[in-house]
């Protein structure tokens, strides 16, 4: 039990195939564990299965075989309604393209996950949303339509949305991939600060070695397998500098 509490995520022998008839195996038996409070980077070439893995971990999709255990709960046998509930409660998503809802304000976007799960928006939820927006440096823009915000600001709102319902695990799929270097640094630093100060567990997919190196842990994936850093990135052998 104590062991389960320390581990936010355990991925066991997860295989994912796509297609019927001609089946493509995208993930070949992934094993992975994340401890509470980790900030981990998932790095690998395009098409290596990063998003696929994130979707499985985020319960947006189901593995072909293997188990995904979130906060000690085995998710294999849950039905769709239970999956939706668990996803809403445990997971926060940040996507490459912010994927905010353009019809809503920053604050409304941030409230959305709690609102969608509860069915009602309480004053407390709204207050908390504004607080989280302030924490990502957008205290003044709560009432702004997300379409009025810059790319970096939008991604901060997306981070606030991922955090506001206090998920056990935030999954970020190339959250800085669509930003210029300066904004990317800012957004990443924000996640690092939130990780440090709030203890939120992050799994961040990135192409960017610079960003990966600033994470507490780097997980390399290649052709649907977790690989040792030496084999994945020979350049890293020489070390920085």
């Amino acid at each position: 039990m104590a062991d389960e509490e320390a581990s936010v995520l355990r991925v066991e022998r997860v295989v994912k195939d796509f297609g019927e008839g001609i089946v493509t195996r995208v993930l070949h038996g992934i094993d992975l564990e994340l401890a509470r409070g980790e900030l981990a980077a998932l790095i690998g070439p395009s098409g290596s299965g990063k998003s696929t893995l994130l979707n499985l971990v985020g319960l947006l999709d189901r593995p072909t075989s293997g188990r995904i255990v979130l906060s000690g709960r085995d998710t294999s046998d849950l039905d769709d309604e239970e999956i939706t509930l668990l996803r809403g409660r445990l997971i926060g998503f940040v996507f490459q393209f912010h994927h905010l809802l353009p019809a809503f304000t920053a604050e409304e976007n941030v409230v959305l996950p709690s609102f969608a799960q509860e069915g009602w928006a309480s004053a407390e939820m709204r207050r908390h949303a504004v607080e989280v927006l302030a924490a990502v440096g957008l205290g003044g823009r709560a009432k702004a339509r997300v379409t009025e915000l810059s790319g970096g600001q939008q991604q901060r709102v997306a981070i606030a949305r991922a955090l506001a319902h206090r998920p056990a695990l935030v999954l970020a799929d190339e959250p800085t991939g669509n930003l210029d270097t300066a904004s990317a640094d800012e957004v990443f630093e924000l996640m690092r600060t939130l990780n440090r100060e709030r203890g939120t567990t992050f799994l961040v997919v990135t192409h960017d070695e610079r960003i990966a190196e600033r994470c507490g842990r780097i997980i390399h994936i290649r052709d649907g397998r977790i690989v040792e850093p030496e084999r994945a990135a020979p350049r890293a052998l020489g070390g920085p500098g």
């Binding site: 947006l60 999709d61 994927h99 019809a103 799960q117």
Partner: protein, 404 residues
């Protein structure tokens, strides 16, 4: 506000142009339905009223002496109408039958009458008339002649009579004038005009003459008798059914207004079915409009729907978001459409009025019409949203986010 309502209303507000256009379409559809129903309902009501204001709902008479051609029994009818009015017969034991008939469920009023053909003359003017000998207090509950008396009074005692407006003109007689009524076999009565009525039917107003029952009994040689029992029923369209029941009960021949006015009923029914057909097409057009707008919206928003699912809204909530949009479009459309339809109906009613200022096309804007139209519109909204909503709720979130 619940999550589904919040998102649904925001989506409607956000795609304003689409919402306004489809609302306009729904409103026009509803207004057509309201206007059409009001107009046809009004026409039917006034036709019915005009017919029923001057007629008993059911007439009972001895079988062999039905004075009208019956469409169902052409052969015998041809014989019966050839019989001369002198052979008018009294209903056997009519007082007992009247008592029985009055107790039948659905019968509101019953009145014994003697009806026959005669001539009315004043000076050199002479006109063929239909003598309607009635018990004034009973008869007024069957056909409200009292409210139709335009000059003089509704009074039938002694040798008082009431004559139609047209007949008064033809005879040149006023209230207080004496008129002679005579039958073919030489019986006659000298009566005094107490009132002039206007039943709104030219041929009746030129022919009918109401006399006290006793005078009719004398004129047609049936002391203490009654040739017909005339009735009013509570539910006018029940008249035929009640008539059949009464015929069984009394052994008399029953004629309902529905049988006599078969042409009118056929007309009403075909009006009703063409109205229904137009409404069905309007409903289909409105439903297709709402459905297509929502389908486009689901396709446009499939990534957003994926996001909603990703952040924890169940597929049921997504389903309801789109159902609510359909329902709200229906509801708003029905409010605007009802107002529009009512305005249009009233305008139309004002447009054409008869010489006395009453509308030529009276419209029937009953509350039920608006409730019905609104329920219909909301129902259409929900039903036509069903397909898009199911589609939205079944989107796979991962795929929707990837490709949407």
């Amino acid at each position: 506000m619940p999550f589904e309502w919040f998102v649904a209303i925001r989506y409607l507000r956000d795609s304003r142009a689409q919402t306004v256009l489809i609302l306009a379409a729904v409103s026009i559809g509803v207004s057509v339905i309201v206007f059409l129903s009001a107009l046809i309902g009004g026409l039917q009501a006034s036709l019915l009223k005009r017919t029923l204001d001057t007629q008993p709902h059911v007439t009972l008479a001895p079988e062999e002496l039905v004075a009208r051609p019956l469409l169902r029994e052409n052969v015998r009818a041809a014989v019966t109408i050839e019989r001369s009015p002198q052979r008018l017969q009294s209903i056997h034991r009519w007082r007992t039958l009247l008592d029985q008939v009055e107790r039948v469920r659905g019968v509101v009023a019953a009145s014994p009458t003697v009806t026959g053909a005669a001539f009315a003359s004043r000076g050199v003017a002479q006109r063929p008339v239909v003598v309607r000998a009635i018990d004034p207090e009973r008869f007024v509950a069957v056909v409200d002649v009292r409210s139709r008396v335009t000059r003089g009074r509704y009074r039938l005692t002694g040798n008082d009579v009431l004559i139609g407006k047209g007949l008064a003109e033809l005879l040149g007689s006023q209230v207080g004038d004496k008129v002679r009524v005579s039958t073919g076999d030489g019986r006659e009565a000298l009566v005094i005009v107490r009132g002039v009525f206007d039943l709104g039917n030219e041929s009746i107003d030129e022919r009918w003459i109401f006399v006290p029952l006793r005078i009719g009994q004398t004129l047609f040689d049936m002391p203490g008798g009654a040739s017909t029992i005339e009735l009013r029923v509570g539910e006018v369209f029940e008249a035929e059914r009640i008539g059949v029941e009464l015929a069984d009960l009394t052994g008399l021949e029953a004629d309902s207004w529905m049988k006599i006015n078969e042409q009118l009923l056929v007309g009403l029914r075909s009006q009703e079915s063409s109205k229904l057909m137009i409404q069905v097409f309007v409903v289909i057009a409105v439903a297709l409009g709402i459905a297509s707008v929502l389908i486009v919206s689901v396709v446009q928003k499939s990534r957003e729907i994926g996001i909603l699912r990703a952040v924890g809204s169940s597929s049921g909530r997504v389903l309801r978001i789109f159902l609510i949009q359909g329902g709200v479009l229906g509801l708003l459309g029905s409010i605007v459409g009802s107002a529009l339809g009512a305005a249009f109906s009233l305008f139309f009613e004002r447009l054409a009025t008869g010489p006395d200022g009453s509308p030529t096309f009276p419209v029937d804007l009953s509350p039920e019409l608006f409730v019905g139209a609104s329920a219909l519109a909301i129902g259409i909204g929900l039903v036509s949203a069903l397909l898009p909503a199911r589609r939205a709720s079944r989107l796979d979130p991962a795929t929707a986010i990837r490709n949407g």
